[in-house]
Symmetry: D2
Subunit: 129 residues, 4 copies
């Protein structure tokens, strides 16, 4: 889809498309992990995990939307959302990581968050270079 | 991710996971198509297309979230959102289809919307059977 | 804001603006109620309530966005989202209503959902008349 | 609603509730301004304004959700989203400000963005104090 955008784009289209896909998968993983946690018998131990998942899903969803827009590009907004996404993913990876041995969905979600955190850091680096 | 959900799910997990992915890709295509339309020289001819893309992106995003939750499942909400998603995708496919010859992004987006409309209809049929 | 829209609008602007505000407040109430439920000692009894709150918040958010757009108006999308909003609010009002005596946030949220359900029904009636 | 949250909250509830309402109104103003711009005869001059409005609406929507959650509070996520919201609102106020004389909706939206930028800065200051 990115290849059909009719104007120049300041970032590398391949890296951008890959980053958007990674963040998108992370949003989906966080929404699913929050719901899976809600259905665990030990839900009372998972309330911080659920909350962080919900935040991370929302932050990722907004980040992919901002990154999918190129018209009237303003690097400051993209950059600030990428920083917020790094922050949310780092927090969510840490929290889900605590429950990864007990709950497979937390392990998968923690991995998705770590991958997304790195992809966002890489895109910030590309923007700054 | 769906395989790790700790309780029974009323719908077929393979069909559900595939439908969520299809709707998710459609949301992304609609957001990107709205933005690509904004950058076309004939943007004044594309305002209804942009608006329908924005609606369809929002409807798809909410549909994937509702379908990703299984705790305390309420079929009436899933069904109503699937119907809304069918409606939005049909409208967006029709509108984007009008510009498909002129703009490749509209053609790709129309295809994504048609695929999503059918996947949602299939899931409704599975829910009703 | 609605008064500044530069073209004719098919619906009554006062009713429309009021409905958007009501749905918006409901989205906020549902997000807050989901989080308050997460912090209750009896969270294990509230998992269906949390899930329904999350659905209702997402459905309301998309409904206000669709209703806030008038360019290239397509009544079928607005109508389908209003129906989905009625469905989600009715389900959320019923579920929150079960916990209203125990938790004040559930009572407030149930009221917001009932008000929103009625406002959406009224707008559908106005669209059909 | 905030008064019914069952646990302590790290921030002042009155300031927090007021900030959430301000950001929420801004999200609504940005969605409406993007759509009003789409219906203006000079839409070709307003494409950057529309794009910035869409970004700002999404960033504001995620910020209110993050601020509405208190369970398992993580100041780093709230702070990063507030910074992103300041950035998006400043960009949107500047862009809408360019069209405020020509289009009343842009003037109203620019004001909403400036108010939100300041409210977010004030909340960041309160978090840091």
């Amino acid at each position: 889809m990115l290849e059909t955008y009719p104007q120049p784009i300041s970032l590398d289209r391949v890296q951008l498309a890959s980053t958007i896909d990674i963040i998108d998968d992370c949003a989906e993983a966080c929404t699913a992990c929050a719901d899976a946690c809600l259905s665990e018998p030990d839900v009372a131990e998972l309330t911080k995990c659920i909350r962080t998942n919900l935040d991370c899903a929302d932050v990722c969803a907004t980040t992919t939307r901002v990154l999918s827009r190129h018209t009237g590009y303003d690097a400051t907004i993209s950059r600030a959302m990428l920083v917020a996404c790094v922050t949310a993913c780092a927090a969510c990876a840490a929290e889900c990581g605590l429950h990864a041995e007990m709950h497979e969905h937390c392990g998968i979600c923690a991995d998705a968050c770590r991958t997304t955190e790195q992809a966002c850091r890489d895109l910030i680096a590309a923007m700054d270079s």
